[in-house]
Symmetry: C2
Subunit: 213 residues, 2 copies
């Protein structure tokens, strides 16, 4: 039986090395490449055609989410597993939307990671226990009136990023070549959707609630 070929994309060198070490110690796996940025990950997926890609979400120059999406198109046979330190289900959800076949947090054990690799390689989907537990807990809470950042549109997120950087509505309007009035409407809608009072609390919400990625 052939080994499962794995590509590791993670911007932390130590983490890449340790995973390579562990996975290569198992006769079922073969780490064929590793890299620290998303661009390289896409290129390596194209040339090396790995069976499984371990993809960290946080990477330069674009996120693991985008890299997953690209790999999905460029090498449909490669199964991507999202790996992140974030336990929020929203991350997992987004990652799966982008075409990932699995999601594992860095809280997971070695055994769970191996299980995830075997499952996705076999064509199944896999989500780690931690996320599954959190999701079920959230379902029990069931707070439908909670601010849901997923309701924000692309444009709104774009404008939030400008706001974070300290740009005024006038500057944002100039930057996006749209009317000042439009920017104001967007800002108003954002605050209304998230039930926030002003831009300061918005930035704090965005920075501390990772739910939006």
């Amino acid at each position: 039986m052939n080994k499962i070929n794995i590509l590791i994309a993670d911007d932390h060198k130590l983490i890449r090395e340790t995973w390579s070490y562990i996975l290569n110690s198992d006769p079922r796996f073969q780490v064929i490449a590793e890299c620290g940025d998303a661009q390289e990950a896409v290129e390596l997926a194209k040339t090396k055609r790995p069976h499984v890609v371990l993809m960290d979400i946080n990477m330069a120059p674009f996120s693991g989410l985008e890299a997953t999406q690209r790999i999905r198109k460029i090498s449909p046979g490669s199964k991507v597993i999202g790996v992140s330190m974030h336990s929020q289900p929203a991350y997992a959800k987004k990652m799966l939307q982008m075409g990932a076949r699995g999601y594992v947090t860095k809280n997971s054990s070695k055994e769970e990671m191996i299980k995830a690799i075997l499952e996705v390689n076999h064509g199944n989907k896999y989500i780690c226990d931690e996320i599954k537990n959190i999701i079920s807990e959230q379902l029990l809470d069931e707070k439908e009136d909670s601010p849901n950042i997923n309701a924000l549109t692309e444009r709104e997120m774009q404008i939030i990023n400008y706001i974070k950087e300290g740009l005024s509505s006038k500057e944002i309007a100039a930057g996006l070549s749209i009317s000042l009035k439009t920017v104001e409407v967007h800002r108003h809608n954002i605050l209304k959707k998230l039930k926030l009072k002003n831009s300061a609390s918005l930035v704090n919400f965005i920075n501390t609630n990772a739910t939006y990625i």
Copy 2:
């Protein structure tokens, strides 16, 4: 020659396991305990008396900074190495202030980690190359007028926390039983000190710049 006894404290199980695996594979090291929270780390340092402690900064219920401080008192023979994903020198500085003997980012290689352990066990201090490079770069830039959050006063930090929560100046004034005008002056001084344009960018700065820990 005796092995160097190591305690690993990191809230990510996978990371603990991989380090244990790697370090135990080296005849010079012996991982004698590992844990995922700061409280346990302090207790384990007390009972196990490890030669070296690998301490992650981000942990519950209190931070690795505080745990380091406690271990320093409770088991002065144990050398603590701060391990973090943060490349800001401010983290390293704070960690060393708390009594750590070394600081290594998660971008560092396995070799660098081993070097750090050997150095601190030998009684020396060790800071990883990444941080050293950043510090030297910052010295070369030498911008004395650069935003320094350390210059913020207690009162100013207090007001920033209210701003983050979305309170208006009027509300902050009421909360602190001071004049609206005073709050406005504080806000103005904060923005001036940090060279920021508005509250949104202030909140983003505070959330993303860990310099104030």
